[in-house]
């Protein structure tokens, strides 16, 4: 019978394989569809045009042949810079560049963001190294989405088991209705409505959250005041996410606990007259802990990727906004960098879970 080490190693390899494959798939989507190619070609065209215009405006006298030669030289220069052609001037086909992309991604050689609207999220001018960009932006997403996630998890974990115990009661029904309604309402629409009501009409919260970046970047200059400011800007997004997502959390935790409450051995324990506290602790929580832990850890890992649409509605300068800026302007290094980081975090979280399962669940250990 293989030991725990073997199980962990096998799962780790499988996850690593998935990770590599995901990066390959993303690189294929970016390159094989010609998406990056088209965007880089247009950048090259624009840059060449801009340089020639600058020269002409500066009053340089150039004959048409000189101009044509200059244009060609510049084209070659920029094409090389963006990796469209190699040193000898031969075009690099998309399927080759795709593997360059994959190699760079897997060696964490993330490159630089070249688009203004992308670099702007870190209040800098391009080019900005992608890892610095992500390091600047990630804490903002943590402040909004991960905090909201932790709040939801805490409320759900403390409430849901009790509700599941009184299964079918009034509170239970209320939770189901709450879950059904708020699961149906799109989060970003709720955000729009809350901005409309609490921001524009009642003027309790700000309507644009972009300034939060200033307070986060200069946090250590004046921690107390900056904390208050950040809380002021983060309040509405966090409230929105919690209101919208809590139903789902309550419902899923309740369902997990419920599945165990119905098991025969719990019924037997009850019939034997064991005290409820003991049943809850030894018979239910011990078993429920691994699915609950799974959903908590995975959702925390997932939250680091940001919510693209919701962040865009709030104009929150987090990972979602970075994704969006990079995707719409075609900033390939940033897009790949974001995938490397977000998928990487997710995969690592899953690996940690695998180890935790083995620690927590004797059945897995014995397997």
């Amino acid at each position: 019978m293989p030991g725990a080490g073997y199980v962990i190693a096998r799962r780790g390899l499988i996850l690593l394989f998935s990770y590599v494959m995901i990066i390959i798939v993303v690189a294929a989507v970016m390159e094989a569809t010609g998406y990056t190619q088209r965007i880089y070609e247009s950048i090259v065209r624009e840059s060449v045009q801009a340089e020639i215009q600058a020269l002409v405006r500066a009053g340089r006298q150039l004959s048409p042949t000189e101009l044509e030669q200059l244009r060609k030289d510049l084209e070659v220069y920029y094409s090389k810079m963006y990796g469209l052609i190699d040193e000898e001037g031969n075009p690099i086909p998309p399927y080759v560049r795709m593997w360059i992309l994959v190699k760079n991604a897997l060696t964490f050689n993330l490159g630089k963001a070249t688009k203004e609207s992308v670099a702007q999220l870190a209040s800098r001018l391009p080019p900005v190294p992608v890892n610095e960009l992500i390091a600047t932006v990630l804490p903002r997403t943590v402040v909004m989405i991960t905090v909201a996630d932790i709040i939801m998890a805490a409320i759900a974990l403390s409430l849901a088991p009790r509700i599941a115990y009184r299964h079918g009661g009034l509170l239970d029904r209320a939770i189901i209705s709450y879950f059904a309604i708020f699961n149906a309402i799109p989060l970003w629409w709720l955000a729009m409505i809350l901005i409309l009501i609490l921001g524009y009409q009642l003027r309790i919260f700000p309507t644009n959250m972009r300034p939060v970046s200033t307070y986060m970047m200069t946090f250590w200059n004046d921690p107390v005041n900056n904390f208050v400011q950040i809380a002021y800007y983060a309040a509405l997004p966090i409230i929105t996410i919690v209101v919208a997502g809590l139903g789902g959390w309550l419902y899923s935790v309740r369902a997990m606990v419920l599945r165990i409450v119905r098991e025969d051995y719990v019924v037997v324990a009850k019939a034997k007259g064991l005290p409820e506290r003991d049943i809850a602790r030894k018979y239910i929580l011990r078993v429920a802990i691994s699915p609950v832990l799974t959903s908590v850890i995975l959702s925390l890992a997932y939250s680091l990727g940001g919510y693209i649409i919701t962040e865009s509605v709030f104009d929150w300068p987090g990972m979602g906004s970075l994704y969006y800026a990079a995707l719409t302007t075609g900033d390939t290094p940033t897009v790949i960098g974001l995938f490397v980081v977000t998928v990487g975090v997710y995969v690592i979280a899953r690996f940690i879970l695998e180890i935790l399962y083995i620690v927590l669940d004797p059945r897995v250990r014995a397997r």
């Binding site: 499988i14 798939v25 993303v26 059904a180 799109p186 970003w188 729009m192 994704y323």
Partner: protein, 642 residues
């Protein structure tokens, strides 16, 4: 053995399709979630059928065409807001194909008159007034071009007449001899001078005598200032003065700062003069006298006439004093130049009071005038006998459009598009997107899961690894990239093709990245079903793999799959809407498209733009979530206490 009864096709359908369907619905109706979900779903299906039947073909192209909607008011709330105390001015389109008064000749011109009537019921301003002339005739007879002359005036409920517009309509220039050309035109009927002059002459606006005084010239100047202010008001608010009675309040502006500043500099000058002879004393005396009469302006309530008289006297007095002092060297050069600048500032002040509204403030407010409005459109031509027949009907259609301040069931957006129509039209699209995605995803997931579980081995490993990979890729970024690619790829094929291809791409991506979770669950179910003895029995009897899968495994998985199907419908609908809101638009009139437009313009305050599409999205999701909850209970009997 008893004769085995052969099943007819009808029996088979009844047995295989109708009876299970009945049972499912009966089961669904047992739970409140199922009942509510079914009711909403039926309503949505009803709306979809209505949309397909009632809305015209080519709605997609029309939705993006701004000119189609230009007769509707912009950003207008629904008309039913009047029930909540907001007065509503109804919109109205008066279309005339025949003149109301036949052709007559007057002053050497043919005159044709159209009269349109509009009733303003509630005290509110319509948003705008537009005149459209379709097929207006321009004739060319032996080299002379006869153009129509159009005149529009409004007879208002209080009897006032407002001249709106009068002009020759000269359009085009390719008329050949003997040819009658027709033109469509939409003249700008807001002639600011005409409208403001009409208003002033009817309502006798003038600056009150107790402010301006009895100087006739100043009164005339005041009137012209009022006209120009009214003109500004018409330019800014347009219809508010055409459909409202303006009232003018004139208040005096505080003149103290100006007078005091002049008086203070005079005071400084006086204090600097040292008396060393009689003549200097006389100069100082004259200055003090001027200062006193200046200060007297601040006492009591002086009119403009009095102000100007005093100021002119002071100015003359000071000028005289300056001349004396200059001629006899009574003041030093600094004092002289100070005095000069004081005189200059007084003169500037006088000029200001004469020509501007520096002395009084004019506030113009307009209150809606309810009642019957008569729009008179008069088209005239030079009375040339050959023209008589041609111009007796000078235009194929004369449209007078009163844009209300509210519109229809659900109001309009920034282009004047009827949001009700879009909302209706969005329903079948949303259902189609959601159901297509859910059905295909579910079939793929079930098929992959059963294959994986039943065959095991290498196939199992490949499918599970695939499911694992696609399950870990964040879908939304991929969706954004591919939707963008689809948009640029099909941009050249026109709106409808591009829209269709973009939506198909979205659906395709959602399917490709959506089947993994279901496949993993179905595989687990298949693994346990595979171990059941009756599968062994079937195998022993020589049943083929496909028979075992379709006859024994699939039916058991089907119920769970249907729960998953129902639950996965909203995902695709919300993804499409979310992408639209992000700005990845396909061009179809969907709920997301409405929200996206609202977000682009940043108008979060327009609730009828943001609320209804979101409510429709939420209701659709809710229907499927509730149905999903009910189906889940049917599938999982242990949850059945609710």
């Amino acid at each position: 053995m008893a004769g085995k009864k052969e099943l007819t096709l009808a029996d088979k359908i009844s047995l295989k399709l109708i009876r299970p369907m009945k049972n499912v619905i009966k089961d669904l109706l047992r739970y409140w979630t199922g009942r509510v979900g079914l009711v909403i779903l039926l309503a949505l299906i009803g709306i979809s059928i209505y949309a397909m039947v009632a809305l015209p073909q080519g709605f997609v192209a029309r939705w993006e065409s701004a000119s189609y909607w230009d007769e509707n008011p912009q950003w207008a709330p629904p008309t039913w807001v009047s029930a909540f105390g907001f007065p509503v001015a109804e919109g109205s389109i008066i279309s005339k194909t025949m003149p109301d008064e036949p052709l007559s000749v007057e002053g050497g011109r043919f005159i044709v008159r159209y009269v349109g009537v509009y009733k303003l019921e509630q005290p509110a301003f319509p948003q705008d007034l537009v005149l459209k002339l379709t097929g207006l005739k321009i004739a060319n007879i032996s080299g002379t071009i006869y153009v129509p002359h159009v005149y529009l005036y409004i007879k208002r409920p209080d009897g006032s007449l407002i001249d709106m517009f009068e002009s020759d309509i000269v359009v085009g220039g390719n008329e050949t001899i003997g040819f009658v050309a027709t033109r469509d035109t939409k003249p700008d009927i807001y002639d600011l001078w005409r409208i403001s002059s009409s208003l002033v002459s009817y309502y006798n606006f003038s600056i009150p005598v107790d402010i301006v005084g009895n100087n006739v010239t100043l009164q005339r100047i005041g009137e012209s200032i009022i006209i120009s202010r009214l003109r500004d008001e018409v330019r800014l608010k347009r219809s508010a003065l055409v459909f409202g009675v303006p009232s003018i309040t004139v208040t005096k502006r505080d003149q103290t700062p100006m007078v005091q500043s002049i008086s203070a500099s005079l005071e400084t000058l006086i204090s600097q003069i040292e008396i060393d002879n009689d003549q200097v004393a006389m100069v100082k005396e004259r200055l003090i006298e001027s200062k006193n009469s200046l200060d007297s302006l601040l006492e009591g309530d002086k009119t403009l006439t009095e102000y100007l008289a005093t100021l002119e006297r002071v100015s003359a007095n000071l000028t005289q004093t300056w001349k004396i002092a200059f001629a006899d060297l009574l003041l030093d050069s600094k004092q002289l130049s100070d005095l000069e600048s004081i005189i200059r500032s007084i003169n500037r002040y006088i000029e200001q009071l004469y020509t501007t509204d520096a002395f009084y403030e004019i506030k113009i407010t307009s209150t809606p005038l309810t009642g019957r409005y008569e729009f008179n459109v008069i088209i005239t031509y030079t009375a040339k006998e050959e023209l008589r027949d041609v111009v007796s009907i000078p235009a194929s259609e004369v449209r007078i459009i009163v844009k209300g301040n509210a519109y229809g069931m659900l109001g309009t957006d920034d282009l004047g598009r009827d949001l009700y129509q879009v909302l209706i039209y969005g329903t079948p699209i949303a259902l189609a997107i959601g159901l297509t995605t859910a059905i295909i995803t579910t079939f793929l997931g079930v098929f992959a899961g059963i294959t994986s579980g039943y065959y095991g081995g290498f196939i199992d490993e490949v499918i599970q690894r695939l499911a694992d990979i696609i399950g870990n890729i964040p879908t939304l970024p991929i969706l954004i990239i591919l939707a963008q690619i689809a948009q640029t790829q099909y941009a050249a094929y026109g709106t409808e093709v591009r829209a269709l291809m973009t939506i198909l791409t979205i659906i395709g991506v959602l399917i490709v990245f959506g089947w993994g979770g279901l496949a993993i669950t179905v595989r687990a179910m298949t693994l346990s079903i595979k171990e059941e003895p009756y599968i062994d029995a079937a195998k022993a009897l020589g049943a083929s793999n496909s028979r075992i899968i379709f006859k024994h495994i699939f039916p058991q998985v089907a119920m769970y799959a249907s729960a998953s199907l129902v639950a996965s419908v909203p995902g695709a609908i919300l993804s499409e809407a979310g992408l639209s809101v992000l700005g990845i638009r396909h061009g179809w009139p969907t709920w997301g498209a409405i929200l996206s437009r609202a977000r682009d313009t940043g108008r979060y305050d327009i609730w009828w733009w943001i609320l209804p599409p979101g409510i429709m999205l939420s209701l659709t999701s809710l229907a499927f979530i509730l149905l999903g909850l009910a189906v889940e209970k049917i599938v999982e009997p242990r949850l059945r206490t609710l």
